[in-house]
């Protein structure tokens, strides 16, 4: 599969269909996103269970600097890109999506500090394979991209169950409260979950301690009166507000790439929150992100 990806990339670069390609590069036992401009450099291109990062946000940031920017996208990445195109953050005609079918990426936390070897789509630690898959990927809705210019790999069916969310729903109120308060009290509010999220692109964020940027014409009084939703204080109360506010803005938009959970240094199960939200959006509003072509909030406006 990697050979096929490289072949497609080589062709695109050689025929000057794209100026550069955003893809993963192997580096010190992990893989990072990188911009490939040269055909010769393509030998360093990698696609494996370690290709965890979602390129959508990087593409959003840099695609305007290129005539045409290629990007290799897994199912969830392609969904993120599609979401950003729908929200007019990415110009569709200035990117070229090389969709790749994905069998689920590795949970880097499980590989931490171990000697990792990748063979095909399998991860070995000390020559033994084990349960390395990122839990979020077990519930992947579209392992094969549905939004692409060229597709590499075979079609794989997505999974639409919510067993993980139901497990938390089954807890009684106190148990669930204890579960989440224990998690949220660990948060250090580094805002990595927000910063890494492809659909969290606002330059002014309501959870920042000085939100709603001031302008050069704002008077002192205006500045003093700007609402501050959240301080910088890190405690359970404020952490809950931070996470709930952050979450609400993802209704019908989160593409379940799992970047938030992966980024979190304190290991909060953030994708579980996003999946609960997905379930609500699906059950209460009947909005299925995978099938829809109109953003959730626009759809709500059209209906009501």
């Amino acid at each position: 599969m990697l050979e096929e990806i490289k072949r497609v990339c080589k062709e695109l670069l050689e025929q000057k269909k794209v100026d550069a390609i955003v893809a993963w590069r192997r580096k010190n036992g992990r893989e990072v996103l990188s911009i490939f401009k040269d055909v010769k450099d393509l030998e360093n291109l990698s696609f494996s269970p370690l290709s965890v990062n979602n390129p959508a946000k990087l593409v959003m940031e840099i695609h305007r600097n290129y005539r045409k920017l290629g990007v290799i996208a897994k199912g969830c990445d392609a969904m993120s890109i599609r979401q950003l195109v729908l929200e007019e953050k990415i110009q569709r005609d200035s990117i070229f999506i090389i969709g790749v079918s994905c069998k689920g990426v590795a949970d880097l936390r499980k590989l931490k500090g171990k000697k990792v070897e990748v063979k095909g789509w399998n991860v070995f630690v000390d020559e033994r394979s084990f349960d390395w898959i990122f839990e979020n990927c077990l519930y992947c809705r579209c392992p094969t991209p549905t939004y692409y210019d060229v597709l590499v790999g075979e079609f794989r069916e997505g999974y639409r169950g919510f067993e993980d969310v139901e497990k938390i729903e089954k807890m009684d109120e106190k148990e669930r409260w204890d579960f989440w308060t224990k998690e949220f009290s660990l948060c250090i509010r580094c805002h990595a979950c927000r910063s890494v999220c492809p659909v969290c692109y606002c330059t002014e964020c309501i959870v920042d301690p000085t939100n709603l940027a001031i302008s050069s014409t704002s008077t002192a009084e205006e500045k003093a009166k700007y609402p501050r939703i959240l301080g910088r204080k890190v405690n359970l109360k404020d952490n809950i507000v931070y996470h709930v506010v952050r979450l609400f803005h993802h209704a019908g938009r989160c593409t379940k790439c799992g970047e938030c959970e992966r980024a979190c240094p304190m290991g909060l199960p953030l994708t579980k929150l996003e999946r609960k939200l997905e379930k609500i959006v699906l059950e209460v509003f009947g909005y299925d992100q995978v099938k829809e072509t109109v953003p959730f909030f626009s759809k709500l406006e059209m209906v009501g």
């Binding site: 580096k27 010190n28 992990r30 893989e31 990072v32 996103l33 911009i35 990062n53 946000k57 990087l58 840099i62 936390r109 931490k112 500090g113 660990l186 250090i188 509010r189 580094c190 805002h191 990595a192 927000r194 910063s195 890494v196 330059t203 920042d208 301690p209 000085t210 940027a213 001031i214 302008s215 050069s216 704002s218 500045k223 301080g231 910088r232 204080k233 890190v234 405690n235 970047e259 992966r262 980024a263 240094p265 304190m266 290991g267």
Partner: protein, 320 residues
């Protein structure tokens, strides 16, 4: 140097508790460790804590004053604390923080915590995954314990540390133990694959401030606060008022709002400028101001960076 042929940290923790200390030890939470008040000390599998020891001396939130019409209270934390099994690099980082908080202007909140906190460090036997401490002075703490076959060999580095050793019944270390510890240190220092040429790097950085290199290395940066919040030497904070309380909280130079001025001008609005600032602050500005590089090589920022920015790799890549 003294020798203790038993569970040193367990017995020391018990003695310190008797003396009225709050004792913090590495406690396993999920798949990592945090310093918490705990009774059980299980160091099997312990490499380092996720958050460095600075959070005990310089907590993430700290109330500076409580006020109504006038200042009602200036809460100072006078409790006696002890932190056990701190890695030497993190302990050394506190010495660096002292230069910020105790030289010139003395920060009373920091000082009282620092004076009342005892740091007992635990030397590493082998390098951790991302550690590059070999490039720095990295033995710190009030006293430092080395694991040996029979138990622990403990060395006091400060007067506070010497007092600790008198709490337990310890034997004087004989020549063979001292030699063993030296050998352990030697082996540890040798097991690092490479050493950075920091002198040259710092000089190269001074020359390359305007280089486009900083744009290249920051392409993937997402401007989160992980690298600075988990850094044992980062000390930036913000002061805010809330419900009759003035408090300070950690802040990060990687956040876009960090340098936003009231006039709406932002000198570091672009992320590459912020990332560059992180490197220059640690390796150039603080070196010029305090004579020390503000990095101890713990490797947390490398390990936890969500997009894989590696401080060593960036340093190595600065053009000479």
């Amino acid at each position: 140097m003294k020798v203790y042929n038993d569970y040193f940290f367990r017995d020391l923790a018990a003695k310190l508790r008797e003396k009225g200390y709050k004792v913090y030890v590495p406690v396993k939470v999920k798949d990592y460790y945090l310093f918490k008040e705990g009774d059980e000390i299980d160091l099997s599998g312990y490499v380092n804590t996720m958050k460095p020891v600075k959070e005990i001396i310089f907590p993430q939130n700290e109330v500076l004053i409580k006020y109504k019409d006038w200042i009602e209270e200036v809460p100072l934390d006078k409790s006696k604390k002890a932190v056990l099994a701190v890695r030497p690099c993190d302990a050394k980082a506190l010495d660096l923080l002292d230069k910020v908080f105790l030289e010139e202007f003395v920060d009373p909140y920091y000082k009282i915590r620092r004076d009342n906190t005892l740091i007992v460090s635990l030397a590493c036997k082998e390098p951790c995954n991302y550690g590059f401490c070999i490039n720095f002075e990295f033995y710190g703490g009030d006293s430092i314990a080395y694991e040996i076959d029979t138990g622990y060999a403990v060395d006091a580095l400060t007067d506070k540390g010497r007092e600790v050793l008198s709490l337990l019944n310890m034997l004087d270390a004989d020549k063979s133990v001292i030699e063993k510890v030296k050998e352990q240190k030697r082996r540890f220092e040798k097991s690092f694959k490479e050493k950075l040429n920091l002198n040259e790097i710092v000089n190269a950085m001074i020359k390359n401030f305007d280089s486009s290199y900083w744009k290249d290395v920051s392409t993937n940066c997402i401007s989160c606060g992980i690298c600075t919040y988990l850094c044992p030497t980062c000390f930036c904070f913000d002061i805010l008022d809330e419900e009759n309380v003035r408090y300070r909280s950690w802040d990060s130079c990687q956040f876009p709002l960090y340098t936003l001025e009231s006039s709406s001008h932002n000198p570091r609005a672009e992320k590459w400028k912020r990332l560059r600032n992180r490197f220059y602050d640690k390796f150039v500005y603080m070196y010029k101001r305090k004579g020390e590089i503000f990095c101890v090589g713990c490797g947390r920022c490398i390990e936890r960076c969500p997009v894989g920015i590696d401080i060593c790799e960036v340093l190595r890549g600065v053009k000479f």
